[in-house]
Amino acid sequence: MEKILQGNYAIARGAWEAGLKVACAYPGTPSSEILFAISSQYKNDIQAEWAPNEKVALEVAIGASFTGARSLACMKHVGLNVASDPFMTVAYTGVKGGLVIVVADDPYAHSSQNEQDSRHWARFGKVPMIEPSDSQECKDFTKLSYDLSEQFDTPVLLRTETRISHSFSPVSFDDRRESIIPIGLDLKDAPKYTMVPIYVRMRRVVVEDRMKKLEAFADEFKHNVMEINDPKIGVITSGVSYNYTKEVFPNYSYLKLGMVWPLPKKLIREFFSKVKKVIIVEELDPFLETEIRAMGYKIFHGKDVLPGFYEFSPEIVEKSIKGKGYKPPKERINPEEFPKRPPNLCSGCSHRPLFYALKKLGVFVFGDIGCYTLAAAPPLNAVHSTVCMGAGVGGAFGAMKALGKEGLGKVCSVIGDSTFLHGGIAPLMDIVYNKGNATTLILDNRTTGMTGLQEHPGTGFTISGETTNQIDIETLVRALGVKHVRKIDPYHITKAMEVIKEEIERDEPSVIITVNGPCMLHRREKRKFEHAYYEIDTENCRGCKMCLDIGCPAISWREVGDDEATTKDGHKRKGVVSINRIQCPGCGVCQQICKFEAIVPGKA
């Protein structure tokens, strides 16, 4: 059977066919669909679970592997930074059941805070890295990664990029084969799994030896493929870069690497002997290029012409390699002149009034990773730093330490519910422990919003929708020793401002949690608004644009002609506002901002 699958779904399929037993992840674009696919399609065979963060996800997968079960941990590129601690050491312990770690890179940072190249982790951690170039390879390579993991007693990194994870192409299906390794723990395995110095030193040698064996294996690996066409130019490449290059230069010769670490040195030597000039095409860092230059080879082209940042495309590859010989298609018009459609908070989103309140208070907001990064954009402009998951909480504390009493009333941090449970607990503990006075706002929208509404330990539901123990954020925060915990309704702007002002001026740690503000896309929880929608009383609207300051997608302004140039009570105006009834959920935020009573509840 053949089906068209997204790369992430193909990875899920491959893992299932390989006999996967335990899968863990924390959502992160572009990797999030893998665990969802496993839980929705293969839940009878595989235990799939959202972990509070990537470090925990990997640790759970490691424990499962130690019993002999095939296990999987999935994350985006920056997720592997979080999981790097167990990752660097599981490279020493090795595995019992196959352990695959999927790491999804995001060149051009479509939905990320940086553009790092995960291939360095393979070299750094001394583990093999496999890189598929389409959905069929996503399935096949995931499957063979499990055999490789057990054969060489190593975790295997499977690297994708946005364009592989999120592209669709045909995949042929096979049946599931259960692993032949019996499940169980053996007390005598302790020296292998206990990384205290005496055993570390023993395993260290094993790791070196393993890399040598893997290097020899790479030369024989059937997915490191040489295609000799025109021998004048040979391209060494992998992943989606192979497809872009093959598309524009079909006649060149190719060495396509299915395994990007360790490198098949013999095969590379052979390729150099068969072609005249070698071009290396790779997105992001000159990873292959640096290694191949270190082997003593001259490269015809690499990062001297191809960009070392952003995502590639067929024309970028063509333009870079052809140089002056490239003829761009004729430009008919300049699309840069047109208005863009940046992503925005949904109409009715509980983050909008909250960030409007913060903007009015004029505070420096240490933000975090999630939908609220959208409040950094105009017209809200209410997020002033974003580093990584949890960094806002510690960041605000650090700023307050440096500013001293001067900082009171001027700083706060903002973090989401899922993000707080991911990385916000330890920095909040730090504020309490080190006698800080920073204020942490937890915007509890009852889900992991930006990545597509995943459950987390605070929602009371598992990935498969079963009810489970629920972490109560207020209880948790109080247990950490925060004495001042306030709850606010984010939709009541004036009241919210009062509470925030009081807490940020307080010379003690404080936490503010929003209540009754579930994500507008939430399937289970809905905020009941008082009115179904709002509309504009055009006789009163002065067209002052105050309500546009919240950036609600349902509100628009238009210029008026002479016949509409005054309000009912005689005020001159240049335009009026209207509210799109279909888009307006009736949150009433705009009504609180209007000074002229021009925004009124719609007639139901």
Binding site: F168, S313, P329, R332, P342, P343, C346, W557
Partner: protein
């Protein structure tokens, strides 16, 4: 089968069903024997931004992305989103436009103007190869404004010699049963629209 790969660029705004339309295209062309690849190009999740998908079919498809300037068919569910990609079309490319405007935030805030004469601009460069449908009204007549994407697919099906049963079967496989008859109808009405 001809070696040539055909490139279809679909564009629209979030909620118009651009991705569903490209999923259906993928299934239809795969079923009749082509290799297919599809890639969605959109920013952060689904937050009201523009949505573009690259769909390619042929004997063997390598790149999941279309090369700039190599589009054979541009299908746009919204006028500005069509115009944004006018440079991507080949000289003899064809464009199918749904005559609908959705105002972007800079326009609704009154800081920028929505481009005028979009259809005229396309006719200037693509004369006979510009096809315009009133997809929204056709969809409303069929019973649901959300069927614009299916109406547009119906119109698009005229460019290919693929049996209507194949279209219909794959269409319905992607939709819940309760909207089957509505969408079958929307597809047929769309087919008649150009």
């Amino acid at each position: 089968m001809e070696e040539k790969v055909t490139n279809v660029l679909l564009s629209g705004v979030g909620g118009q069903g651009t991705i569903l339309a490209s999923d259906i295209l993928c299934s239809v062309f795969h079923e009749v024997g082509y290799d297919v690849k599809k890639s969605e190009v959109h920013g952060m999740a689904q937050r009201g931004g523009d949505v573009t998908t690259h769909f390619r079919f042929g004997k063997k498809v390598y790149s999941p992305l279309i090369k700039y300037g190599d589009v054979d068919f541009l299908i746009s569910f919204e006028l500005l989103e069509g115009l944004r990609y006018i440079n991507w079309l080949k000289k003899d490319g064809k464009v199918l436009l749904n005559d609908q405007e959705t105002l972007p935030p800079a326009v609704t805030r009154g800081t920028m103007k929505y481009p005028e004469g979009v259809v005229k601009t396309f006719r200037k460069y693509f004369k006979k190869n510009t096809f315009v449908i009133d997809g929204l009204n056709i969809a409303i007549r069929c019973g649901d404004a959300r069927a614009v994407n299916i109406v547009t697919l119906g119109a698009f099906s005229n460019f290919f010699d693929i049996k209507e049963e194949v279209w219909e079967k794959n269409l319905l496989e992607h939709l819940p049963e309760k909207v089957h008859s509505l969408n079958s109808n929307a597809f047929r009405e769309g087919k008649k629209a150009i």
